[in-house]
Symmetry: C2
Subunit: 372 residues, 2 copies
């Protein structure tokens, strides 16, 4: 019996989570385990009603679960960034989910926008660092005299680097700080090396150490050090700009990729597209010793809310990753196989050229899992 | 008569610049202008011999030119970042070349890795800010007690954000700072809006304001303000992660894109790939009132140095952009047409499936330009 928290969130979030639960319950029935779900009404509606994003009570409650099944957040009535930072990133940071695991895998029957690439060419995993880098939320913005007392840092930077005096009303400046620590880099790299050992023993590290040399210089040094403990894994350094090219031109080169947070955000969306789009892109936010969280990487698509048309497959796949994380490897594989069978049988939602509804896809995959 | 500085640089740099000069000289002959070239021996060889990257004398000399024709830098004997920062970025910053202009255009006869896309689908321009953001080179890295006195900023950050005491020897931290100013954002945005007015009157701004809210919050506010002066240009905000998807799936959506420096670096490499790869990707570093610089965006490919096999087309295209910048619009168009004719006639280097050498491609395009 697994106790799992679910957060449907905003827009299409509750519908896709519902479809996912139907599949995971079926997997439990077939493979001999029960899931006790507990729902949390976190998201835009509550925020607009009460001003609460994540409360201390939420965090205390959620900490009792090994896994959270997360739908999507984002609402047109709320300024961009508020819900993302206040809920999604807050959960990732609070629970120290330092691995953001993103399989980039083209399933059978799925169309990729790349010419001449097949499922055997697109099958790798991105391990994105999930708690440091430019996601630490440190920065500031100021204009004119009024706030200058608190902004000595920026004023110094600006004077030294640009020879400009920032005490004038006319000038307006913002800065943002990224942080990489040895400890933070090392733990996610060890996770990636371990994964590489279980796969093709190939690991690429992605950075921009030729320009952002302070943070990514440290990143590279840590990588070089950790690599010594994994002599059988072959490694390489890639610059992030080049990686966007090779993902498109030669995705077959990659097996496991490890990358700092922000570049990870960017290249995993690109990865999602080459595997067929956001409708098929799941992600796991993992703390191997704590509370992990599994989600589709797409947004809340407010305009499709309540219409029962959204593609639940990314969410169902995220559910498969969650089962894998819980140790239910057979059930996890069955769920992924169910998704593939649903696709090759053309039982898909509108975005993939089919006619099925969100809930129908969930029920269909559940029935396929029960037949395995 | 135009006086133009040339910097061949490292690896294949001198060869591709030579091929480019042959074409631009031909364009001068055909369209009635002369170019007086002045070469600068800047690059890895001099650095290794004298320790000099860019000298004060270099900068004083170069400042007398309206344009620099730049090959490539990078050498296996030098640590990544040294030449890039010490030469290429130093020139961009010193001459305040605040616009990095990158046409993303699939030429006739060129293969794109995208399925079902033709030249009419891939034809847009990225305007990358070129002097701010995370390229300002501000950051630091420290370990242990010894350097802590100078690192109050990071220590404070670390304590406030992570509740950790960084005075221990065991901990190692690096930080990197990005800066956006109103002035810096506004000038590049005005350039992009002006360009959009001359094209399809569509401008997309690319950022990650939902997470890096300080720098890109200012970026968005400036954009919104500048947009008021261009009521006929339709605008939108895109997140950088999403943009990597749409460049691959729907490049036809884009006409002009404006973006901060680092994201610009990333998405223009992706753009280069969809237009056929680095062999065909030119860039201009523009200061409309000062010394501008035109270059292929690829690197120095040391292993092909001296073999006369490198593809000079990106460099020749960069030369076309340089002519355009100098006001020689007809000649610029003729050079680009010459490249296209050379491609459709299959007169191309090995990387594009042909047999021609670097110098032969240069001479061939020169002869085509003379026939226009
Ligand atoms: C919604 C946003 C804050 C988030 C991120 O930037 O990490 C998303 O893009 C993702 O990749 O999960
Ligand atoms: C070589 C490197 C410093 C440079 C950059 O990052 O700007 C390059 O990638 C580019 O895009 O011109």
């Amino acid at each position: 019996m697994y106790r799992i928290a679910s957060i449907g969130g905003d827009g299409i979030g509750p519908e896709i989570i519902e479809a996912g639960k139907v599949v995971l319950d079926a997997a439990g029935e077939r493979y001999g385990f029960d899931i006790a779900w507990e729902d949390f009404a976190i998201g835009a509606d509550r925020y607009l009603a009460t001003g609460e994003l994540i409360t201390e009570d939420d965090l205390a409650d959620l900490s009792r679960f090994r896994a959270i099944y997360f739908g999507a957040i984002g609402d047109d009535r709320v300024k961009p960034g508020v819900l993302e930072k206040g809920i999604l990133l807050a959960l990732r940071f609070h629970f120290d989910q330092y691995v953001n695991l993103r399989p980039i895998k083209l399933l059978e029957g799925v169309a990729t926008p790349l010419a001449n690439k097949t499922p055997s060419d697109i099958d790798f995993v991105v391990v994105r660092e999930n708690t440091e880098d430019f996601y630490v939320g440190i920065g500031s913005r100021f204009a004119g005299e009024s706030e200058k007392a608190t902004l000595e840092v920026v004023r110094d930077i600006y004077q030294v680097k640009f020879g400009m005096d920032v005490t004038t009303d006319a000038e307006e400046i913002a800065y943002q700080i990224g942080v990489i620590t040895r400890e933070g880099a090392e733990r996610v790299m060890r996770y990636a090396f371990d994964l590489a050992e279980r796969r093709e023993k190939k690991l690429a590290s992605v950075d921009k150490a030729n320009v952002l040399s302070d943070v990514y210089g440290l990143w590279r040094d840590v990588f070089t050090g950790v690599a010594k403990d994994y002599p059988d894994v072959s490694t390489e350094f890639n610059f992030v700009d080049a990686v966007t090219m090779w993902f498109v031109k030669n995705p077959e080169w990659y097996d496991v990729v490890v990358t700092p947070n922000m570049f990870g955000d960017i290249i995993t969306d690109l990865g999602a597209m080459i595997q067929g789009g956001l409708g098929l892109a799941p992600g796991g936010n993992i703390n191997p010793q704590g509370t992990s969280m599994f989600e589709p990487i797409h947004g809340s698509a407010p305009k499709y809310k309540g219409l029962n048309v959204a593609n639940p497959m990314a969410t169902i796949w995220a559910g498969s990753m969650m089962l894998d994380h819980l140790g239910e490897h057979e059930a996890a594989a069955a769920v992924l196989r169910g998704i593939e069978q649903s696709i090759t049988g053309r039982f898909v939602t509108r975005d993939m050229g089919g006619k099925a509804t969100t809930s129908e896809v969930g029920e269909h995959i559940a029935s396929l899992v029960l037949q395995h």
